[in-house]
Symmetry: C2
Subunit: 349 residues, 2 copies
DNA sequence: CAACCACGAAAAATCGATTTACTCACATCG
DNA sequence: CGATGTGAGTAAATCGATTTTTCGTGGTTG
């Protein structure tokens, strides 16, 4: 093993070359695994590499290529399990192909999203995995198009005319939720969501509504949608219940909505599933340990990440053809927070 | 605004130079804000920059410096709120200083930790924020020392003889938890934790034990520690209760432990705080919306991130002196999961 | 008026790789 | 026997910046 002391300049390809008594070009070839090198010389190079503890400087190595071996990933946030797992997966997949993943959080802001994208463009990343704040029609995707960047859109998207997209099959999952709730006798259901993410939320809402109505035409489905933020949703939800509305089940179209719903239930002293049932889109580890355990739609993070990277590298490798929109199937975990409608006893509000 | 079409090669500093009728060196100076440039020429450069939409290539720019303007961050995982927030903060702080943050997950493996570190060394990062899997004495920190890297250690560390450290003041927080539990009459308390992270866990445990014993000398404190993983802990906990042990409160020294405790309570049909009380180290958003809300020690993520970056950049800037070990104060949020000991009625197990 | 200095800018070296173009030696072929 | 080909390797160009060195021009000064 190389005995190397601290502080010292790292050896460059030239150091290796002179140690091995060959040119830098030869060293480069050996490192790249080119076969047109005399075995004896190759061995000398390998020995020198070992002796000096030489490792290629990826920065310098990337300089000469048009596309650097860097993948950018932009997520709306890092604080939820979903995006945390996503980043973990993406990192691992990028690494497997010898790429470095640079992750950035847009912190739910489209302005920041574009800024980050500019910076990634400066880095000449080979590709970008973008989970847009809003949807596929935002300024970030436009920027990518305008600058000829290669990328994949994930999560809050349905399909795009320029980029491959990968997301959870929201509509089907919602349909299954609808079947479950209707099956348990629920005839008055509240759906909460965020208007901003138009397409995805609409898919989830419509998937639910269509299926529920197909099963029971006169089912009552109320909708509380906040535009951009979660706090307004909390207020709207409070107003909704304050009016005396008393659905027997709530279906939240996104994680924060589930939290808001739960906290509103708390405020009113309602318990699941006796007072009201609850299902949320997006699973989290805590949901199976609380009392009651919270029913949830589980998004297939690994599949989304895997197919996103697959699509991305196909494009990086020069793959042509029209963009592909993938939908990955979700799993619906019905837990104790959902009960039969008859349980829900109207209570004085 | 620059009207630039896709596909086209990005302009280099030479393109700007020839457009402005000056040399590349002059353009470089203007971009760097050097004042020894004739105002007229500076303006011509700025115009050319604007016209061509020129932006510095950070990769090429970093080539000539020994330390690149990149900060590496290595976290044990990205899936928890704590590390998610940490990365978000670190990213934002690095960005503020014109650095790019490259984050990587060691996935709770010391081997991977070292691998990532090697890769970051290849990138010649200016500094590293390392949240070690185990503690400050692992192979990763040793690698950093051996290679003269600059870095800061955070979270699962107490102090180090080579690097600055920043972590939550586990001992004080635990002492406060002890005061609270003792104050509520608890005299038989179970503490659960992970043995692997020796120093941190011990600080939390001892901080708790010392204070509790100081208040009530004959308080009974049981300890269930798993070595490396969470699943064994689940089994150990099950065994512990199966033996008929019936503490009135549980203090979990880390987040996953809290989840495991809750799920074990569920299995046995125990409710907080009537059957048993629960406090956990590490807060999470869901803890305030479940019923009961779970009491928790809140780690000051922003302070930890802030001081870590401060220390790191001080060292990058050449700051000398012995390493500093910082402890950031935590907040203890007593929620409904903690009740007075008299509530806990022994139940048949 | 010659020597000197200051200023601004250009030319050239540099960072650490990769890649192209070229050289040399030796073998093969018409 | 001269021409062509091929294997192995090297020098030099290149990527896109920064930094050091050099140069020319004017203005000051002894």
């Amino acid at each position: 093993m190389a005995h190397r002391q601290a502080q010292q300049r790292r050896p460059s390809i030239h150091d290796v070359a002179s140690r091995a008594g060959v040119s830098a070009a030869t060293v480069s070839k050996v490192m790249a695994g080119v076969t047109t090198v005399k075995p004896e010389n190759a061995q000398r190079v390998l020995d020198a590499v070992e002796l000096l503890g030489y490792r290629i400087d990826p920065l310098a190595s990337d300089m000469r290529r048009a596309k650097r071996r860097i993948i950018g990933a932009i997520m709306p946030e890092f604080e939820s399990e979903f995006f945390g797992q996503m980043i973990t997966q993406l990192e691992s997949l990028a690494e497997q192909r010898g790429y470095t993943l640079v992750a950035a959080s847009s912190r739910e802001s489209e302005a920041r999203e574009k800024e980050i994208l500019s910076r990634m463009h400066d880095w000449r990343v080979a590709g970008v995995v973008l989970a847009p704040v809003r949807n596929e029609h935002g300024p970030a995707a436009a920027f990518m198009k305008a600058n000829g960047m290669t990328g994949v859109l994930i999560d809050r998207v349905l399909s795009d005319d320029a980029f491959d997209t990968v997301s959870a099959d929201s509509a089907s999952a919602s349909a299954e939720v609808a079947r479950e709730l209707i099956g348990k006798g629920h005839r008055h259901i509240l759906v909460v969501g965020l208007g901003e993410q138009a397409a995805t939320m609409r898919a989830r809402l419509e998937g639910f509504r269509a299926t529920a109505r197909a099963l029971v035409p006169d089912v009552r489905i109320d909708v509380v949608l906040a535009e951009t933020d979660v706090e307004p949703l909390r207020a709207q939800l409070r107003d909704y219940f304050a009016k005396g509305e008393r659905p027997t089940a709530v279906y939240s179209l996104f994680l924060k909505g589930t939290l808001v719903a739960l906290s509103e239930f708390r405020r009113r002293g309602w318990h699941c599933p006796n007072d009201i049932s609850l299902v949320g889109f997006d699973d989290a580890e805590w949901m199976q340990v609380t009392w009651p355990a919270i029913a949830a739609v589980v998004q297939p993070v690994r599949q989304i990440a895997g197919h996103a990277m697959e699509a991305l590298f196909a494009r990086i490798g020069g793959g042509e053809g029209p963009p592909i929109a993938r939908l990955e199937p979700c799993k619906v975990l019905m837990r104790e927070s959902v009960g039969s409608a008859s349980l829900s006893q109207p209570k004085p509000t």
